[in-house]
Symmetry: C3
Subunit: 431 residues, 3 copies
């Protein structure tokens, strides 16, 4: 089955992208985007926004790149090595090359006493620092003495890089997919996001026709989404009817939903309908639990209808933002499940329309072969769903609303709608 392969293929792409050292800027981002463009989305446009560019209240920072980093202990052993894990270096660390005492070193070390075997993920984009991250176990064993600290990084005027794809549809109204490519070697948050998005794009490209235009972006989180909104505000506000911030879509422990600011957009309705009609349980978060780019997409005055449909949400699993968020945490099944839910959301949007029945009183389905011609005690149940669908196609409800009212997954209505349109019993209400 094709869908199962998507999970496996997604997992393999995660594996390929995992080692790259991404950050909000720099060559790790460019390599990531290039692999996606070369292998999956040839039309992906790569944009470079110069350091120093203003974006609302923010400024694009300097570009950061790093070649190597390590610590050598008093005995001459290389005890911390960037080549082993790019989490060992605080993101955006300035270069350093000197001998420091353990006391001084400690001011630049980050570890997690509660998770003594995890390397934490730490960044400092907007204040110049240097620092190393390590397990608390390792840190406790450091003995007094002089340590050589070495970070071969650069922080220079360069640019912020992001990828963008516009897939045109019949309508200029858009569905917006945003995912981020700024985290180094971590898997659920976040390689799962760009990878699942990549496979959704492949599926979108494969569609014979698309009702909506699709705007897909691969950006660094926060500064990337702010830059993107600042450059596309009017278009986004005019055209986007629903959007998804695609993050944490790799593990298989749960499904999660995080609403838009007031939880009342079409994207919210679709996401909730799909999740509520899946076999699986899901966790419904509040917008107060937010922590990703909806902070900007849904901010006052921007007001985009963007939600997150996730597996296990950032901040809600112990491995989050540590070296334990690795390729073992995610799975082909986890990626596959997220992919399917998001596809179901997109399909529900594509198929959504306001419909009206074309005759007064119930139509006579029997003469069209849609209703049994013999009426006995048992016969009424059979076509009940079709009757219910017709009853609420009154021009005021979209198909999603009808599905909610008649307690059916919307995807079970697509064939029925098609059949009733063929019989000219349903027609679209132009909006």
């Amino acid at each position: 089955m094709a869908l199962v392969n998507t999970g496996t293929n997604s997992y393999n792409l995660c594996r390929e992208l995992f080692p790259l050292c991404r950050s909000v800027t720099g060559n790790g981002v460019r390599q990531t985007l290039q692999i996606i463009k070369d292998g999956y989305i040839p039309d992906l446009q790569i944009h470079e926004i110069p350091s120093g560019t203003q974006a609302f209240d923010w400024t694009v920072p300097k570009e950061w790149n790093i070649n190597d980093a390590y610590i050598i202990d008093p005995d001459g052993n290389k005890i911390i090595d960037f080549k082993e894990s790019n989490l060992h270096v605080v993101g955006y660390s300035v270069p350093v090359n000197k001998i420091v005492t353990l006391e001084e070193l400690n001011e630049h070390l980050y570890s997690l006493p509660d998770q003594p075997n995890a390397i934490p993920y730490v960044t400092s984009y907007y204040k110049e620092r240097w620092g190393f991250c390590l397990t608390d176990e390792q840190r406790k064993n450091l003995k007094p003495g002089n340590y050589k600290v070495y970070i071969d990084s650069s922080l220079t005027n360069g640019s912020l890089t992001y990828g963008e794809l516009i897939l045109p549809g019949k309508s200029e109204k858009e569905i917006f997919l945003s995912t981020y490519i700024c985290h180094p070697s971590m898997a659920n948050n976040e390689l799962s996001g760009p990878v699942v998005t990549t496979f959704i794009v492949k599926w979108l490209i494969s569609l014979k026709e698309r009702k909506y235009t699709y705007r897909i972006i691969f950006i660094p989180e926060t500064i990337g989404s702010i830059v993107y909104v600042s450059r596309n505000l009017d278009t986004l506000k005019n055209n986007v009817i629903a959007g998804f911030n695609i993050t944490c879509v790799g593990d298989d422990r749960s499904y999660s939903y995080l609403p838009s600011r007031y939880g009342n957009t079409l994207a919210d309705r679709v996401a909730l309908h799909v999740l509520e009609n899946m076999q699986s349980e899901f966790i419904k978060y509040s917008y107060l639990d937010r922590g990703s780019d909806e902070r900007h997409y849904c901010s006052p005055g921007v007001d985009l209808p963007v939600v997150s449909v996730m597996r296990t949400k950032y901040g809600k699993y112990p491995e989050y933002h540590t070296s334990f968020d690795d390729l073992d945490l995610i799975s082909p099944q986890g990626l596959q499940g997220a992919y399917e839910v998001l596809i179901k959301c997109i399909e529900a949007l594509e198929k959504n329309e306001k419909l009206t029945v074309t005759v007064l009183c119930e139509p006579q389905l029997g003469k069209r072969g849609l209703y049994p011609t013999i009426s006995s005690k048992q016969s009424t149940g059979n076509v009940r769903d079709m009757m219910n669908l017709l009853a609420y196609c009154d021009g005021s409800n979209d198909l999603l609303a009808v599905a909610e009212i008649i307690n059916k997954p919307v995807w079970e209505l697509y064939e029925m709608v098609s059949q009733l349109k063929d019989h000219e019993l349903l027609s679209n209400v132009e909006e």
Copy 2:
């Protein structure tokens, strides 16, 4: 007490009408309407709509009549006899008179394995067939051989018959009562419907004055209501403020409510208020559970405010649409209870009005003898209901809304309203 007699009188009328072989057309309907007209509603208008008449998506079928029908077994015994039960023949069976094998016969037999002693009620209005219904017990005992099957029926161009009464009131706004007269010998569904409606009409005729005009129809289900709507659409849409589809009002096992399409009409509010304030429990169905003429009255574009207030709902009792739905299933008490609830609904509609208190601040009830002149710890409770009534008569609420807000059955407010109007403390708000 007069009301108890209504239950008994209703039951007696059920008994009289029970043997007639009604269907969606034919002489059984005419006889039924004539008995009601002769004995109870002299002004009932009988309408005949020719076969072939178009009504929206439907066509009035040929008229069906039947004189006799039977099956004779290989031993020459008459084993099925229409004269014993008119349920034995599939409604709208075409004439037949031939010898068939048991195998062939079986294709024309209907029985209920789950209810082996019940004769099912089966019809085939829109496809020409013949068939017999029998108990599964009897069917299992049929032995191989040749059977004579005989149905002396006619299916010819004729007409669909319905009864209509318009009782004028002070307002041209209407309350609409619809009941059906198309079922052969069954009692709860449906002789109870036309019988209880008949006694409600008698009561309506007896009223000194009616605020509203009443439109009461006795029609065959489905095709009858569709025909009626097609001939009266504008009037119904302009005038009907509340309507009741009167069906399944004969047994005494429960009360039931089935809402209009969105459950938000005046008829819904009245029905719910009355049922919620009765001593008895009731079952609140969804519009998704519908199965009678609200399918047409509440359909998109027709949108009449029609609900059903029933005893045990069609499809929800084991005897439904079988020979067990007989005169033992219904009772004078069951009919009486339904009659009373429906009368309470109609009274609540007649008495409903928007009221406003005529003075600012609370009126001084004491000087009008409506409030105790001595104030002590216990005295405040006594006139609390009157105070509450006055507090919410602010011109925005109808009396039904006031009753809901102050948690009183609306019928306990009628006398109070009258008293306060006499004291000129309440006045009607013209709408």
Copy 3:
């Protein structure tokens, strides 16, 4: 701490005012108002409204005063003495001085069989009577014989007295505080009301600036509020944005809330928010439980946004309207608690405004020192409340609504709002 003194000071003022014999008119009211004016509110205006003045459906009654009253039993003992408790005389008793039999006396006696040791509080403002109140214990011991009954009262054309203070603020929109001064020696209902109001006024006077104008009245209940509304209707309707009927604010058993007529005014929102965010439980009554001047303030056509925030509500404690509602029932803590809750309500009104964030997308708090510059796993929670505040300051919500949405007591947001305004990240939306 200053606030603790308010409780004690309030209690002491209760003690001073307790012995005065107040009624809806008369010198007890005047003395009460004079003590408040002399000691606390020099600008309090005393108004006198002549007997016979019309106020909507009501008429100002004659003025009642009383010097002495007693009963002498057949043995010559003074068994009931007004000087011991002013509750012994039915309020508004006409003068009497005669010998009566026990039988005749009994028609003029009031006691409570259920509370045999309590003297009930009884009045007869609108029908001329005389009567005595006593404990049921004492009443049961009365022996047959002749009793001397003596009431030295007067019921003459005089006036109804009330106090009023208008404290101007920057806006002519008003916050309205109403309390009543018509009960003789009882403590929770009612000395607590005027006393707590007095200390709230002291606090209001002490404020450096007031956004709103404050209208505070000390009136006799019912007739006083009706008279006041009749003389100030247009101003009240145009200007009052929130009001509090201050009663039963002295004991420490509970907090209570009684809503306005529809429970949907700004006063309701503030009262509920404050009570729901206090540490204490509170009882939420319905408007159907009302029994004080909201009956007039919230009546149809008057429609003032007035609620009651109380300690234990009138009618809901056994001592209510008896001699047991005395100085032991209330406490400095009880008075203090009510004072603090009401102050919190007023502060919430003063601070309430519609705010909007001034930048698109989230502002960069880090560059303003409001956000940690290093991002690790734990850091996001720290400034979450500030982010949430900003997220919902979109020009559509007032601060109270924002507090409800983000689940914070509004008073925890004042400092944050101030800080964000200083950084020009929030601005007021003119309404």
